[in-house]
Symmetry: C2
Subunit: 312 residues, 2 copies
């Protein structure tokens, strides 16, 4: 009787072997590559790595739904862009407002309330909202093979962190339940916060100013700022994750870097070099040149999403 397969949703291909070999060598006592448990830090991107990011990152869908929910309190939005376009369901009109429009949406929906109020809004949305193409709850669309990988790493003494360009306060309400990753191990983009007394009760307000953009160069800097220890393994899916993988692999000793390649139009999405929003091109080239693991969702994964009875 052998040990149960820790990664049953992975086909027996080179990607799975690379993961298992890495974990074996850093955890085997006496191994030349042994790493003590406190230093077994693994960092994961979220959008596109642990769950999908198409047709647009899910947090943007949350923001658009929040505009609709908040509209009764903002009669001026019926004529004011980008809100007018959103309320009319005119996505081309929203797109025409560009980055400035998106920033206005984020400021209106992610700031000007307490952190507790924002958490409640996220919890309500994530429990009820459905993906526009699959009709599934968003948390039902996480990647089953990645859930197994997170669990396998933790069972092997790793501490798993999310290091995402997405908003930290948007992820924390559900990452512990869905990924087994507690709030304090979630790093993401964030606005500034302000502690104050409101009617004698202490609250923390979300301000519209940016505190951290956790993408590209910002990822290694955020890892140093929040974790203070260089990961030995890092997992991403696009060029925005490249610097995190560079920083991880530049340390001494055994290191592991992996990109998830979205090449499965039938079961999920297929996009890479030509994608404008989530490009995977420079990172792919570097992965090929340096022998990092590139996961083919089509070829390396038996299943993509959790079975219905296992959804969280």
């Amino acid at each position: 009787m052998g040990t149960p397969d820790p990664l049953p949703s992975w086909n027996d291909t080179a990607a799975k072997k690379a993961i298992v070999d890495f974990v074996a060598k850093v955890t085997r006592p006496g191994s030349a590559d042994y790493v003590p448990p406190p230093e077994r830090i693994a960092t994961f991107d979220n959008d596109g790595t642990l769950w999908p990011e198409k047709p647009v990152p899910f947090q943007l869908l949350f923001a658009l739904d929040r505009v609709k929910a908040l509209a009764p309190k903002h009669p001026e939005w019926t004529t004011q862009e980008p809100f007018a376009s959103i309320l009319k369901g005119d996505m081309a009109g929203l797109a025409a407002t560009g980055e400035k429009g998106i920033l206005a949406v984020m400021a209106a929906t992610h700031a000007g309330m307490t952190t507790d109020e924002f958490t409640q809004a996220v919890e309500g949305w994530i429990a009820t909202a459905k993906h526009p193409q699959t009709g599934l709850p968003f948390t039902a669309m996480v990647y089953q093979p990645m859930l197994e990988l997170l669990h396998y790493l933790r069972a092997s003494g790793f501490k798993t962190f999310i290091v995402s360009g997405g908003g930290v306060e948007f992820m924390r309400p559900w990452t512990e339940r869905v990924y087994g990753i507690p709030p304090e191990q979630v790093i993401g983009s964030a606005g500034k916060l302000k502690f104050e007394a409101r009617d004698g009760e202490p609250v923390i307000l979300k301000l519209p100013e940016v505190d951290l953009i956790d993408d590209k160069d910002g990822k290694p800097a955020a890892i140093q700022s929040r974790i203070g220890r260089r990961p030995i393994a890092a997992f991403g899916n696009s060029d925005g994750d490249l610097q995190m993988l560079q920083w991880t692999t530049a340390g001494p000793g055994a290191r592991f870097a992996l990109f998830v390649h979205h090449d499965d139009a039938a079961r999920e999405y297929a996009y890479d070099r030509a994608d404008k929003l989530q490009q995977f091109s420079v990172g792919w080239d570097e992965a090929l040149a340096r022998g990092w693991t590139v996961v083919s969702m089509k070829g390396d994964w038996k299943t993509v999403h959790p079975p219905e009875n296992a959804r969280r």
Copy 2:
């Protein structure tokens, strides 16, 4: 045969009883105050709470020693304040340069190098530098009763964090060894960081701009930003910790707040309301009004520092 006393350096006074009662009620399954382990977050100030902060915070002594170490590379410092005063050992001259002088010292000694280089400087200093009054290594001056408290909380399923006004990169190199608190559970004041390639090798540079001042109002905001979960217990020693204790105790369910009162001039230091740098006055009043625990170092602690054979 009873359970061994988890806090042997604490006298059997009300302070110890308050701690033990709190831990018992939040950990006892079925208790009305039971708190699941993931939510057992405890935050500790460092300077004055886990180790002393007199005659000045130890990080300032590190900075002054760094000025001396770096002086050969900066011939201009012999005539340029505040460096000239420091190099002459003229502390009154340094004090005369005020906050501007201190900021110049911090920028010169805590920025303009990589995080790895700074860590090496801290490790070298903490291993060799001696306290100007006791002649002891600084890490030998940590508070033995607080070490026992940290250990007791962790053994009771708590996750212990440092939330200090001191510099995060100054604490992380030694907190795991000395306090059992890993780098990712250390929050402190910080400068901005920048990821870049230096001779093809990725490095993270420490910039002279402030990223976080982790004091007063900044403490609850940093707790939300870094931990994302409200502590159920918080420990401090001065008015700079008051907001952290307010935020902690304002949450629902059982909560614990404790101030260490420095009233032991014989074994350590005595200072409170009249102290200019580390005042304990508004916080003391609020602690008295709200029934928080105020530890008398003189009356509640059997010993202050670890015995020689237990130093780390």
